[in-house]
Point group: C2
Chain length 360, copies 2
């Protein structure tokens, strides 16, 4: 599936839900970018939940984003319950604008919704030549360390810095849970055990039984450490911004009563504050070369820096297309059909034909 | 050992090494604060390495700290190879000063040295009413993910936010290694196995053998996640600041050829940018209450937020004194004697008497 084709259909779907074209394009860009980078969990397969919430008027297709400034370098965006992609993009743009003028820009956001893959906003900052943090809070999915019920989000810690001479940018985008819940589900389906430290059962006991873990909660990465970082994001993105916090962000999949009121925190930072850009590029390149040229752990072919695997997958998929699985493809087509968006024949054809691996 | 007594002797020791009294007091404050908080690894037991490097003129007792400003909210401090405590304190002060005027303050530091317990700088920011990050790079102690030789520092991720109504501040200060190397050494001494994921042996193979792990390298917390965060601190504190980076920060314990050239990155952030302080205190209090009142995992008596265990130990030790072990006490006395600093009789007496637990 060529990325351009997928982008066009996705944008059309959101436009049909009364999202202005410019914003629909940005949403499509973020979703397709996730699929390009191999982050299928944040790709076009998620379209149905966004359109469902648009239909139910829990997400505002054309939010009136308003901005408040405080002191020199801080701003707050009221997301007016718009799509998190649209709100987040505007907020990171503002952080970049402030950092361009003053070195650092901080933008807090309230009344937003699920913003998809955090790396989208990091890439936005990288394109402008900035380092950045992107933090969000989220509906409860993980206990705080010591607890046994979902309280914190599994939202990612996200940081980026521009690449150097011969080295790609560093893009850190990683959930603060030890593992995605989907991995526990797959172990359960295969009848496999899960490693210690992945989950608690419903009674709050450590377990290696996948079914018991799936019925319980997934634990924070590195235990107390992942819990602390998730709490930090809850404070910066939730408490300080005026958004929902402390277990009150609505779960977009199960709560259809109210908008989510997600909070975000974006910080853009000009890297060449004290060293000229050329020297910085040299230093970042040296860092990457030294990191990658050291002796490897057993079983490791190549040392990859954060973001490098995703960038490689994306480069390949930009050329070869995105290998959507049958259910994702069917999802996109169903969403298009539901709002009478034209589906290119090639897309429909590949959904109708049996997968190539089966022979034909 | 009363904290005041320990502070006085420690300050006198540094003053005898030609550290100006004001700075000697700050060094003593940071070291004793670590012992108060139960972080003995960064307490007065470390005095000998700092005085050794002062004697060898690798640490400058009276650095001429110089400051450069860039754009509105960024500054860089040249530490002139001073004690990291002194340089770090000055830099965080500056970050607070800038944040007071503009909302956020960013201060990068180069030509510094080991700065001890990161929480010292967080507490400094909290006293002024600010949220803060404190990052440092450090000499190689941990492989990057995929490598098998020490490359990154185990330096802590450090973040703080002011407390709320009835809740203490949140103080996150945690090394990015899965475990302190000392824990592997103790397992080796006891002939115990270590858990999977703690260490690689010298050939880069995963091991549960404590001796093999001690001779190899300790791994990053949560594998690729701890590695990514440590790399992030290397970029912010090392690459951007102009300090040594990428394996070139000197190890203060084994390299007596050159100053360390450690880099730091401090960011202070005014919390009440958009919500009044009283409302924020209410929200932080709510967050703490909700987090702590949830159902607990099996075997957990109380859910504690980051920094809470250390604050409790410190409150107790401020009243009851610090239980230094015999070797720490002997170290302090030897350091005092070496520079003819007066040691209070009570301190010398408790070093001479057998430990109370042995009876007497």
């Amino acid at each position: 599936m060529p990325a351009e084709l997928l982008h066009r259909v996705t944008s059309d779907i959101f436009a049909a839900h009364h999202v202005p074209r410019h914003d629909a394009d940005r949403v499509a860009h973020c979703l397709v970018e996730a699929d390009l980078r191999g982050v299928a969990s944040h790709g076009v397969g998620r379209i149905p939940i966004y359109t469902e919430r648009l239909r139910r008027k829990l997400v505002n297709p054309a939010p009136a984003l308003t901005t408040e400034r405080a002191m020199t370098v801080a701003a707050r965006v009221d997301g007016d319950n718009g799509l998190g992609f649209v709100v987040g993009t505007r907020a990171m743009d503002l952080a970049i604008e402030i950092a361009t003028a003053h070195g650092v820009g901080l933008v807090l956001v309230h009344r937003s919704t699920h913003y998809g893959m955090a790396a989208s906003y990091l890439l936005q900052a990288l394109e402008a030549g900035f380092c950045a943090f992107a933090f969000t809070n989220a509906s409860p999915a993980m206990p705080i360390w010591g607890g046994r019920e979902a309280f914190l989000g599994t939202s990612p810690f996200a940081f980026a810095a521009p690449g150097g001479d011969g080295s790609p940018p560093v893009v850190v985008d990683m959930a603060m849970s030890v593992v995605a819940r989907g991995k526990i589900r797959r172990a359960m389906q295969r009848g496999e055990k899960i490693p210690e430290g992945w989950a608690l059962d419903a009674e709050g006991r450590a377990t290696t039984d996948a079914k018991a873990g799936y019925e319980g909660v997934v634990l924070p990465a590195a235990g107390v450490k992942g819990s602390a970082l998730s709490l930090m994001m809850e404070i910066l993105a939730g408490v300080l911004s005026g958004a929902a916090f402390g277990g009150e962000v609505r779960n977009q999949y199960i709560d259809f009563e109210q908008p989510q009121n997600v909070g975000h925190c974006f910080l853009a930072l000009k890297p060449d504050l004290f060293l000229p850009r050329a020297e910085l590029a040299q230093r970042m390149g040296d860092l990457a070369r030294r990191a990658k040229s050291g002796p490897k752990a057993q079983g490791v072919d190549e040392i990859l820096l954060p973001g490098e695997p995703e960038a490689r997958i994306a480069a390949r998929r930009r050329l070869d297309g995105i290998p959507l699985d049958a259910s994702e493809l069917a999802t996109v087509i169903a969403e298009a059909d539901a709002v009478k968006v034209e589906v290119p024949a090639s897309l429909r054809a590949s959904a109708d034909s049996p997968p190539r691996a089966m022979g034909a």
